[in-house]
């Protein structure tokens, strides 16, 4: 009975519908990459290059063309969805969890703990995030997991600030006071009475943050300090072929379009979720 209402809501908002479809498409591509991809992403095919050794434009045989090594671009994009989503989910999940923990602890224990945690958060906001991520990723010899951790490290701050503000106002409410008067301990209050109120924040930022994460991964990989070839990622496909972009623009535009579509969809769906779950934030940046 909930489904038709949801479906009708979706149909009334075409952008949201498109966002959902793209996200599901990327999820399916990531999950079933080996079955969906027409070729192996690492296969450097003899017929994948022209006689002069140039990459082939989109054709019947290679739907999105081939890259500079004669590999099928479509297959690399499908496998790249895996990389992007793994990093998106792991990095953003870690960032949201860290942010929630820091924010809730700082908001609940308003004494020294809160002070130290929030000053540290202030410190992190003054950090040039992109620069920090590039430096760390470059010096740590990038791998999938290091890239994810680096992204998580620079992305938890915003969630921490929001969780902090929310916890602060919750802590002063009467029902928490009543709990405490009845003898509830800190852990019980934190987990049973404060945490549930932060579920909407976690869901919203769990979605919105994936957009930021996918973009940051693409940027790092584009600079060559993210996910390392031959493992395909949308960013490093552009990195590998940017010097050919005049003669083979499809090698830049298709991965770029994937990044844009994915980030845009997570942003749209996240924003709608925020409207739905948290009416007080409606219409804000």
């Amino acid at each position: 009975m909930a489904m038709p209402a949801l479906l009708r809501g979706l149909l009334r908002r075409p952008t949201l519908l498109v966002g959902f479809v793209v996200i599901i498409g990327v999820l399916v591509a990531a999950l079933f990459a080996p079955w969906l991809a027409p070729y192996s992403p690492d296969d450097q095919m003899f017929d994948g290059l022209s006689l002069e050794g140039a990459p082939l434009p989109p054709s019947h045989q290679f739907l999105l063309g081939t890259d500079t090594l004669g590999r099928d671009l479509l297959s690399r994009l499908i496998f790249g969805a895996r990389t992007s989503l793994i990093i998106g989910l792991v990095a953003n999940g870690t960032a949201v969890m860290t942010g929630l923990c820091v924010g809730v602890l700082a908001g609940y224990f308003s004494g020294l703990v809160g002070l130290v945690l929030m000053r540290f958060t202030d410190l992190m906001t003054a950090f040039p995030a992109l620069l920090l991520a590039i430096v760390l990723a470059a010096l740590l010899k990038p791998s999938l997991w290091i890239v994810a951790m680096v992204i998580a490290m620079v992305n938890w701050v915003q969630v921490a600030r929001i969780a902090y503000t929310e916890t602060r106002s919750l802590t002063e409410r009467d029902f928490i006071l009543a709990e405490r008067a009845m003898g509830a301990g800190n852990l019980r209050i934190l987990f049973l009475h404060i945490a549930p109120h932060l579920v909407p924040t976690a869901i919203v930022w769990g979605t919105l943050g994936i957009a930021t994460t996918v973009l940051l991964e693409a940027t790092l990989s584009f600079l060559g300090v993210g996910v390392q070839p031959p493992q395909p990622s949308w960013g490093n496909i552009v990195f590998e072929s940017q010097s050919y972009f005049q003669s083979a623009p499809w090698l830049v535009f298709f991965p770029g379009a994937m990044i844009l579509a994915t980030a845009l969809s997570f942003n749209i769906v996240g924003d709608e979720l925020r409207d739905l779950l948290d009416p007080t934030q409606r219409g804000r940046g």
């Binding site: 003054a126 590039i134 740590l140 973009l215 584009f222 300090v225 552009v238 535009f253 219409g283």
Partner: protein, 306 residues
Amino acid sequence: MIGLILVRLVQAALILLGVAALTFVLLYALPADPAVLLAGRNATPQIVASIRHQLGLDQPLPIQFWHYLTGLLHGDLGRSFNQKTAVGPLIAARLPATLTLMAAGIAVEVVLGLTLGVIAALKRGGFIDRCVMTASFVGVSTPQFLVALLLLYVFAATLGWFPMSGYGTPAHLVLPALTLGVLGAGWYARIVRSAMIDVLGQDYVRTANAKGLSATRVVLRHALPNALLPVIAMIGIDIGQFMGGTVVVEAVFGWPGIGQLAWQAIQQVDIPIIMGVTLTSALAIVLGNLVADLLAPLIDPRIRAA
């Protein structure tokens, strides 16, 4: 007011100190050893050790940090590992390029954002309004390098209107500034739109309309100035973002700013330069926010009371 400025300045200094400490620990705790890189492939352990000694890397971390900090207070950012010159002048030489790019990027954002935002607010629910709302999302969802490469492909490689890369003439500035500005403009438009909708609904705007003032005068002279406050705050944020955030744009367009300096330093593990650029960026972030906060009461006296 002066007391407030002093408090904020002290806070800013403390934050910068914290950033310096954190960056220092992060950079020197990393596995990459600059001495090994400098010594080259065939260096004996003795040579590596002597280079390490020369750079002061063999001293305990707290002592190294103390040296760095005392130097910093004298305005000395240390010496580059590779170029053997002081970091301060190296950064200072790159600043004009980055500041030019930043100013041009912000100018594009403000001009586009104000125009579109005001139109969207006036024609609420119309075609332009819906475009602006979508564009603001597209703007924050597009990787900078994609826009940079697209602009290069269309306006430099295909049409040949602007040079592919380089620095020096206004023509060189157009594409990098557009890359920075076009993406941010959507968000400016969104902010201006919602502020304008707020302001347009207020009584004094109705009074101005009732007096028989022209619509242009009401919008530009009466409503817009009151909608500018969030734009000022946003510019403050952007000043900080662009100082350390133009690495990609500078790399694609070969723009010789501090982003490029940082990028080269990162590849050579030239830690003093990385430290210097990080601190410069952090300074810009802190100052950008500070100036925006201090300007706010000058623009809107109602804030002064709070």
